[in-house]
């Protein structure tokens, strides 16, 4: 059985919470006592039936304001697959949560209200999800009951969305008409939608190909922790513990330790203290090297033939997540997985209008802005572009004092070309 991680996004009131509630409810993931508590809560608030959205709106502030303000995780399993749902907020001011959710997802369900069709938020969410590297989309046309289950309405919305998808180069979009409230086409086909021949939502989620890490990707591994038992039985044992970030590792590989650039051989790969003939992402392993070289946390070990060139200059897209704006000259910390180093923002190159995708000049980045910046780091990083590698092309920026996470970073270029000169 495999695992699918997906996010749900849409504007407020499109029915996201109801849809997730419906998936959990109809796939029997909700237990009786949770239901009983829910019914009790419903009796004391508004009269009526069970409000499925209450299954996901967890925090009190949300209950009071009636909106989803943070990222929530839900789980359900069918005989075919385990699912991890990340529910992300609809409000514009919470783009950072949307980015957070999208960073860990293989698929996005973009919800629209059939009465409103594709709106500003739909476009915005799709752009953010695509930016974060999601390639599989479901356009869920919800509340189809409120437009008389009309095929024409559905077709028009699908056509509108196709334009958005085309602009972003998204080729794996599946559109499904449904009613989260009534359950049409969520986990069961609907008699109200005889004109729709495609899969219902759950059917699609159960059968869509999941992102198995491409074993053809360049092999990447960063050291998390050095294992040195220093016991009588193992006085000289040194193992480099970490997670394979992409690709395949095999004992005997000639490897390079970066950023130092030392060449050695992979003597063994161990998992649970057993030597293995090969290991793939995202397995946690211990690498043993043939030579006694100086390796510590944050170093990268890569097959010689696939090694990236360590760089101190990065051009990156940032999603700025702090209240305080970012201006050029700002010093901060870059956390590139297990590597951490100081950095300075040399320039803000442009701000992306996430409505039109246009690049506009910008002097600063404000909360929720998507900007392109140039960074210079104190230590070289063994990085890739986000296009090449969704793991080693990603980093976060931290505040030097508070440690707060300030931004999500996607590497666009590792050795930026010299700026063009005016002739």
């Amino acid at each position: 059985m495999d695992l699918l991680r997906f996010i749900t996004c849409g504007s407020v009131d499109d029915g996201k919470s109801t849809l997730i509630g419906r998936l959990l409810y109809d796939s029997d993931a909700v237990s009786l006592d949770v239901l009983a508590a829910l019914e009790e809560q419903n009796r004391t608030s508004a009269a009526g039936t069970v409000d499925l959205a209450l299954l996901t709106d967890g925090l009190r502030a949300e209950r009071e304001q009636g909106i989803t303000i943070d990222v929530a995780h839900k789980y359900f399993t069918t005989p075919r697959r385990k699912f991890i749902i990340t529910d992300t907020p609809g409000h514009v001011q919470y783009t950072r949560n949307m980015v957070t959710g999208a960073s860990n997802a293989d698929l996005a369900i973009v919800l629209v209200d059939a009465r409103q069709g594709v709106v500003e938020q739909t476009r915005r969410h799709t752009i953010v999800a695509a930016l974060l590297g999601i390639r599989r989309f479901v356009l869920a046309v919800n509340k189809i009951d409120l437009v008389g289950y009309s095929e024409q309405v559905f077709r028009d919305i699908v056509a509108d969305y196709a334009a958005v998808a085309a602009q972003l180069g998204l080729r794996q979009v599946v559109s499904i008409p449904l009613s989260a409230l009534n359950g049409d086409n969520v986990v069961k086909p609907s008699a109200n939608l005889p004109w729709y021949q495609g899969p219902n939502l759950l059917e699609h989620l159960e059968t869509v190909t999941v992102a198995t890490e491409a074993t053809t990707d360049a092999a990447r591994f960063q050291v998390q922790y050095v294992i040195r038992p220093q016991t009588a039985e193992l006085p000289d044992y040194r193992g480099y513990a970490g997670r394979i970030q992409s690709g395949v590792y095999r004992p005997g590989d000639r490897v390079l330790v970066l950023p130092a650039g030392i060449e050695t051989t992979l003597a063994a790969i161990e998992i649970d203290q057993q030597a293995v003939p090969a290991a793939v992402a995202p397995q946690g392993v211990v690498l043993r090297l043939a030579d006694d070289v100086d390796v510590s946390r944050g170093d990268t070990i890569v097959p010689l033939a696939q090694a990236p060139v360590p760089t101190r200059e990065l051009e990156a897209t940032l999603c700025w997540m702090a209240e305080q704006p970012l201006r050029p000259g700002r010093k901060l910390l870059v956390q590139h997985h297990t590597a951490k180093t100081r950095a300075v923002v040399q320039a803000i190159v442009a701000r992306t209008n996430i409505q039109t995708l246009e690049q506009q000049p910008a002097a600063e980045a404000r909360l929720n802005d998507i900007v392109r910046v140039r960074l210079k780091t104190a230590r070289p990083l063994a990085a890739d572009t986000y296009q090449q590698n969704r793991t080693t092309g990603a980093f976060i920026l931290l505040d030097e004092q508070t440690g707060a996470t300030l931004a999500a970073g996607l590497i666009e270029q590792t050795a930026p070309a010299e700026p063009e000169v005016e002739l």
Binding site: K82, N104, I227, F395
Partner: protein, 304 residues
Amino acid sequence: MPTLPRLDYLDRLEAEAVHILREVAGQFQRPALLFSGGKDSIALVRLAQKAFRPGKFPFPLVHIDTGHNFPEVLAFRDRLAAELGEQLIVRRVEDTIRQRGLREPGGKFPSRNALQTYTLLDTVEEFGFDACIGGARRDEEKARAKERIFSVRDEFGQWDPRRQRPELWNIYNGQIQPGENVRVFPISNWTELDVWNYIQRENIPLPSIYFAHERRCVVLPSGQLLAVTEHLTLDATDELTTRQVRFRTVGDATCTAAVESDASTLAAIIDDILQAKVSERGATRLDDRISETGMEDRKRNGYF
């Protein structure tokens, strides 16, 4: 060329947890693993072996003992720590009550769960722990569904749902200021069933009370069964019974209900769970029902 391993969902969950544990080891000076003796923390110990053997764990096991634990669980805890050869630190709620002059919870089913918070915070201070690893899962309760994997707490151990750090990709930010510490939840994305499946796959021993056994119980008005222990004050009107039961969690004996079951093997327990329509917390913990936002209030106050 050897064929490449194909990873199923348990392999992926395991890899994620091992990665998180190693991040704790790599990022913190004085981490600790909060060990309750329950199946979730026993699974964590197995994951720590996968993460750090043949080395020693880079953290001690810390047990906050309410004094209301089942003796089988305490014996299991001591044996496990000895077999592992790892350090076990035990701090007792009883001592906190005495030192701080706190009031023992009264009532018929006195629960020391709320008082655990004080003992935990004192222990964090005593040893200067900067990260505490816990076995909480997001599927346990609604307030937990929004918990981060690295969750920063202020010096009072408090959790502010509005000020949580965004958690991007699988990059875990453990950068903190003096006085702050982090709670880390490596099995956040596991469900109860995932934990059981893992325990079965890895053949992990558990305390005997998880398996069906005969036990003297008091029948609560709700119909739930509570083990008869020295900590309960029973009246003449209480209905007592002896049933074939097992426990789904091993919290305080005073507030963890038993479920009727004759499941005496892991396979039978997993079968039971697949049939079960009552979720773990609801079936077995009495004290979350006190208020609808019980867990959220306790988290704000520094509970796990």
